[in-house]
Symmetry: C2
Subunit: 346 residues, 2 copies
DNA sequence: AGATACGATGCAAGCGCTTACATCGCTTTA
DNA sequence: TAAAGCGATGTAAGCGCTTGCATCGTATCT
């Protein structure tokens, strides 16, 4: 029976300390507005009763929760975890609490989660990427919830965002691959629908290809949900075709780690027989054998800066311009030159 | 200015729909107690205004939040992530929302987080492990917050828990290592203080050792915070002593992955020159080279069952007995027989 | 047709807290 | 010494929602 639970209230404390509820409230929130002996009396009563303020009541009266909500596609791998950890640490430093919710890469769940967080009084929201139902955007706009978009950055969209240009990053990486002489390049992409980061990465690939006179449509592309096993299976499928790619670029490091294993299962050496690249530069990228050439994303920096930006947004209301953190290409052993025997044209 | 934000309230909806607030409330909570045309009228108004109930007010009036809080040591690696994901999915299936908070392995933060979650009206709490300040336990008990302990299981402690016996598991794994002829075994443990899982694993190691007539005190043990780099450094330290261990058992897979890399840095082959074991069997264990022999923990099962158990606790109030999920040993290439030349005694 | 019952809806009392404003008593100032 | 000022504390009005109880209108029964 929940109803039998009855916690001490502000009033109980006030009674026990022989003061008014206002004084107790002040002791808790603005201690310097209360004279010391009073404060001590009150604090003693608080301890004695094991009092904890009722959050709901507080929110209702004060309109501020010092809570920030974050909704991420998944907690299952380190892609968001690391940045989020930094995000939380910075938030904590400023007296905010982070509440996290994950959608398991099911965009349709995001709305529900956003509403839950907003209803719980989140002062601000951290969201991943731009792709979102217009109705949801309208809702967010209407409620004027300070919202920051992270892990993505599109210069042309004027929303507060902090991240990097997925398309440009992938284009750069693709150029490196091309520079190694690869002309037949496979792609193992995440599901692009509902995930603008995945879509942009693919677009960046196409872009770089185009600049070299190649065409995306000639390349074998597999879309698959993120996941180690999926990367492995996709790799196997890719390498079992007649016109094998000499390099396979993956949508993220997890997929790439799977691809590496797929290659091994096929008895292919990386990078001698086939090159593999990842994206994100999570710890995993350095752990696998061979280590992955990948796009280095400054996860922790992104988390920290996102916290600062979001707090500014919440407290100041000023809408900062989108910030591009920039990325760098991390060259490691998984990418090598294309081997002649694989050139099939002509 | 936050004050300029003004959300539609129940009353606004009521006015717009031409009914009382009670009716609107009923439409939202007990739709079948409202006749259909009324309901439609109300719902239209709800949509038009973009109304979302104020959670604080609702909690205050209704005393139930359908929110479960979870506090985990870290989000940075997959150890808890996977189980937590399953936990959330199951919760969601039952109409509950999960709020996650992490302590970054700083036990002193746990109290703060617990209070934050409780204050926010969490109906129940998922906590990792038993180690906890008595005052905190008292607080939890006083407020009668349904609490479930996960990732650990000690038959002798009568609190609701779902997990596995870390000590027994580590003892089993140690026996396997001993069976391979290893007599000098190094350990890279997580920090045991404030982390009963780490402490229990160490205890299990000592226990198995004792049964073979060996003594923990003769073995090189390094305690270090969890983390890939830390595992690597610890491994290097361990292998640079005169009396090198022929096997190194690590407190978790992340540490073990680091150890593998440390071995490689030293030019040591695993398992020929030194065997390495992990714990948890996260994805990483199969990704590294060589794959890790480790303790397989049923993460997703644990998450799902934890959700079911916690909901039962919250709704029924009945305190289930602790549940031991059991673990299994996953033999993979990182563990091999002890090589004679390393035997240094006599 | 009048009495009865019942389902749909409205009314209004809180839930526990914050805070603007009022009050009180003391110190400062002329 | 009386007026003015100021800091510490108390008073009480909500904040937005749920829900027990009152009310009302219609269907049902005799």
């Amino acid at each position: 029976m929940r109803s039998s639970r009855s916690f001490p209230t502000l009033e109980d404390v006030a009674k026990a300390a022989g003061v008014s509820t206002a004084t107790v409230s002040r002791c808790l929130n603005t201690p310097d507005r209360v004279i010391k002996p009073t404060r001590e009396k009150v604090m003693k009563a608080v301890d004695a009763l094991g009092y904890t303020p009722n959050f709901g009541a507080r929110v209702m009266a004060a309109k501020r929760t010092f809570t920030i909500g974050a909704i991420i596609p998944t907690m299952e791998n380190a892609i968001f975890a690391r940045g989020l950890q930094a995000f939380q640490e910075e938030l904590h430093r400023h007296g905010y609490t982070l509440l996290v919710s994950s959608t398991a890469y099911r965009p349709e769940l995001e709305e529900e989660q956003i509403r839950a967080l907003v209803a719980r009084g989140a002062d601000g929201l951290l969201l991943i990427g731009y792709d979102r139902d217009p109705a949801l955007n309208a809702y967010l706009h209407q409620r004027a919830i300070p919202t920051l978009i992270a892990w993505a950055f599109k210069p042309e969209i004027p929303k507060p965002a902090i991240g990097f240009d997925n398309r440009a990053a992938m284009a750069r990486l693709t150029r490196e691959v091309l520079a190694q002489g690869h002309r037949r390049i496979g792609v193992i992409s995440g599901i692009a629908k509902g995930n603008d980061r995945a879509a942009e990465r693919l677009a960046g690939f196409a872009e770089a290809l185009g600049a070299t006179g190649l065409d995306l449509r000639d390349m074998p592309v597999i879309e698959t949900p993120y996941g180690f096993e999926n990367g492995e299976n996709a790799m196997i499928r890719l390498m079992q075709t007649d016109a094998r790619p000499t390099a396979v670029m993956c949508g993220n490091d997890v997929l790439a780690a799977g691809a590496l294993r797929g290659a091994r299962a096929l008895g292919l050496a990386v990078p001698q027989d086939v090159s593999v690249t990842g994206f994100d530069d999570i710890e995993l990228a350095r752990i696998v054998t061979p280590p992955l050439t990948t796009v280095h994303v400054p996860h922790r920096e992104m988390g920290t800066k996102a916290a600062i930006a979001l707090i500014a947004l919440v407290e100041g209301g000023d809408s900062l311009p989108p910030t591009d953190l920039g990325v760098s290409i991390k060259r490691r052993e998984s990418l090598g030159p294309a081997t002649p025997r694989d050139e099939q044209a002509g």
